[in-house]
């Protein structure tokens, strides 16, 4: 008994921190999503009303929300797999034991992850510049006419995706490298004795053995990519024609630009529901695949 109390006593600071800084704000935000808390309410609390599900209903009727959802899913569906493929590819490239300068390449590929996004954004804005950018210059050598990458509603999201993949693949690459190192070398030896080629080895050994790693990486990537915010915030501010407006960017605009806190909180919980559903579906699929 004495022991249990002591345990609780030692846990108390951590629990208090979690309670004050996590549980309480989340609960408050959840309550807020049922109110019309706005700038008037900040001045005078009597001007906040409980409005039930009205924020959520208004959300469903807001074309901007659907636009933001569409953009976010576009980013997720194209950018997510692309990012994982690039991470896996680079991890495989850096895998061979005899590779020279391995440490250098790992550092180089990981560098974008730890670079400040704002600095990265400035460089990428130069890259994407329609008239003086290096990307359009390279394309012009191949005879492709210049594209206004960030100014054209059709190309802005692909441009953001490429930049986000470049910025983030290094993190997953490190996880994949760790996963690859956990695959016993004997499996490959046995396979090559049996006459399996490199591709067969990859398909029948590497991929299945990496399944838990891939599940982890894909869930983490999905959660991260659902919360797309910083890239469009610094590159395009959601434009042109809202083609890069993401759910979190919309939430930010509603909350901190227009001060519609209730509406913004409702958006946050809708996003939470999407991420939860996505994670559950992904782990179900993986489990069935493993079974």
């Amino acid at each position: 008994m004495e022991n249990r109390r002591a345990v609780f006593f030692f846990l108390a600071p951590a629990l208090a921190a979690i309670g004050i800084f996590f549980v309480l704000p989340v609960a408050a935000a959840f309550l807020m999503s049922f109110t019309d808390f706005d700038i008037y309410s900040l001045g005078n609390f009597q001007y906040a009303r409980f409005i039930g599900l009205k924020n959520y209903l208004q959300l469903l009727n807001d074309p901007l929300f659907w636009q933001a959802l569409k953009n976010t899913i576009y980013f997720l569906v194209v950018g997510g797999p692309l990012s994982i493929a690039v991470s896996l590819g680079s991890a495989l490239l850096l895998q061979p034991k005899m590779l020279r300068l391995k440490g250098f390449f790992r550092t180089a590929y990981f560098a974008p992850v730890v670079t400040t996004l704002v600095a990265v954004a400035i460089v990428w804005r130069f890259v994407y510049h329609p008239r003086f950018g290096i990307l359009n210059y390279v394309l012009s050598l191949a005879g492709v006419p210049g594209i206004d990458w960030l100014g054209d509603p059709h190309w802005a999201m692909p441009a953001i995706i490429v930049m986000a993949v470049w910025k983030n693949f290094g993190y997953n690459m490190i996880i994949f490298i760790a996963g690859l190192q956990n695959i016993p070398g004997e499996l490959y030896e046995a396979a090559s004795i049996d006459g399996a080629g490199k591709f067969q080895q990859f398909r029948s050994i590497t991929l299945p053995m990496l399944a838990p790693t891939t599940l982890f990486v894909s869930i983490i990537t999905m959660i991260g990519y659902f919360q797309l915010f910083a890239e469009p915030y610094v590159m395009t501010q959601g434009g042109p024609l809202n083609s890069t407006l993401s759910i979190v960017l919309l939430m930010y605009q509603q909350g901190f630009r227009w001060w519609n806190m209730g509406y913004s909180a409702a958006l946050a919980f809708v996003l939470f529901a999407f991420i939860l559903a996505g994670s559950v579906v992904q782990s179900r699929i993986q489990r069935r695949w493993e079974a």
Binding site: L42, G43, H129, W259
Partner: protein, 433 residues
């Protein structure tokens, strides 16, 4: 670890640690403890370039007022609004702050800013007749004065005088029909180029200015509903749309990446913007073009004087301040003609005080003359906290109209529906009172 004494020891140390933590925390949150000896400072928030340059005027103020110390804190423009709101929520507002005049309604709703009428009555240093009436009005809500104009801006027409002269306009177009005619001639003379450029992809000002020309009130029913589908704004939008339908203004605005360059190339010959473009054009246009551009008051629907909106920044006194008399002294100082001129010379911001416009440095600036005329015909935008959000809706809906995604009538009806949703809270509050 079995001995009871030891365990008490641990709790004892833990308790002390927590106590120290809370004392330290309390100290940080108590202004008197954190600021220490500097508690008598007047804290002044100014934004961007203004913050940088106003510091140069402060030593003179401190010399004239021994015992008052002003601490200028520079806030970047794009963070200023959020910073003020979070400071309000956190109870750490400054004593005096610069404030964009469209933010006044919002901070009035928050009861964050002081009524300055009683302060004004104490002396004769500041009178409403010293200022442009339209500008002064932006700082008044329900006849209560919440700010003193510091510097002003409004929108005028910037044009290439050489190109317009070539198509028979040695003087700028004064009416909408002249604007149409000049644009049509410019396009006819050099196909692939345009008469005028409206950046509908990121600016709400042009369609709103067209509406103001037609004397649209923008909002109606005591600013609780949109009035954009009303006849005035609808007429103005039809006029605005004409420029896109006839190819006088580019529809695909994103093709223009650099306004200065496109203006220099003659890709378009006219552009509506504010006083900061005087500096930008002077700096960025090649020397050969420096005598080839000018400013003019906005063209209107007929010969009578055209309307623009009154922008700019003012100085506000925060209600939470403990240094209100000192703050008022600083406001009087910065509003004196000499300081207004000094600030204009430092920043290029147009002075709010009428008297300052007689100074030679401003009277000789030919680009500023159009602004003086226009400022005398400038009006306040709707004084509601939601204005910025409404303006974005105007921009988005008018952009859809110019791109032929919606007709003028459809677009403006949809706009009013959206604006009515935004203003729902105002209707509820007005109804309760």
């Amino acid at each position: 670890m079995t001995s009871a004494g030891r365990r008490i020891d641990v709790r004892w140390w833990l308790g002390i640690t927590i106590a120290i933590f809370f004392i330290a925390y309390g100290c940080v949150s108590l202004p008197s403890c954190a600021r220490g000896a500097s508690a008598s400072d007047v804290v002044f928030w100014a934004f961007g370039v203004e913050g940088e340059y106003v510091s140069k005027l402060i030593p003179e103020f401190e010399r004239r007022n021994p015992g008052i110390h002003v601490r200028v804190q520079m806030i970047p423009w794009n963070a200023a609004h959020e910073k003020l709101l979070t400071a309000f929520a956190g109870g750490s507002l400054p004593d005096i702050s610069q404030m964009g005049n469209t933010w006044i309604p919002e901070f009035n709703v928050l009861h964050a800013i002081e009524d300055l009428t009683p302060w004004m009555a104490q002396g004769a240093a500041i009178r409403d007749s010293f200022y442009f009436p339209g500008v002064w009005d932006t700082y008044r809500i329900d006849s209560v004065l919440f700010g003193i104009p510091w510097y002003v801006d409004t929108r005028v027409l910037f044009y290439r005088s050489d190109l317009l002269a070539q198509v028979g306009y040695p003087r700028p177009p004064r009416t909408w029909s002249e604007l149409e005619d000049a644009s049509a001639r410019l396009v006819a003379r050099s196909p692939g180029h345009y008469g005028i450029f409206f950046s509908t992809n990121n600016e709400w000002a042009p369609p709103v200015l067209f509406g103001l020309q037609k004397r649209s009130s923008l909002l109606k029913d005591h600013d609780t509903r949109g009035n954009f589908s009303g006849p005035e704004f609808a007429d103005a939008t039809r006029e605005f749309y004409k420029f896109f339908r006839n190819g006088w203004a580019p529809v695909k605005t994103t093709q223009i990446v650099n306004v200065y360059q496109a203006f220099a190339e003659g890709y378009f010959a006219m552009y509506i913007s504010g006083p900061w473009y005087i500096g930008e054009f002077t700096r960025r246009l090649p020397d050969s073009l420096q005598n080839a551009w000018m400013t003019a008051p906005l063209p209107g629907p007929d010969d009578s004087s055209s309307i623009s909106f009154a922008g700019g920044s003012g100085l506000v006194m925060l209600r939470t301040s403990n240094h209100k008399p000192e703050v008022w002294k600083l406001m009087e100082f910065l509003s004196a003609p000499a300081q207004q001129i000094g600030f204009y010379r430092l920043t290029g911001n147009l002075p709010a005080r009428l008297e300052a416009w007689h100074d030679s440095s401003l009277a000789h600036n030919t680009y500023a003359a159009a602004f003086f005329t226009q400022l005398n015909n400038a009006v306040a935008l709707p004084k509601v906290p939601e204005w910025e959000q409404i303006a974005q809706e105007v921009r988005q809906h008018v952009e859809l109209i110019t791109m032929d995604q919606l007709t003028v009538d459809e677009g403006l009806k949809a706009l009013d529906r959206k604006v009515d949703i935004v203003l729902e809270k105002r209707r509820w509050i007005a109804h309760g009172e």
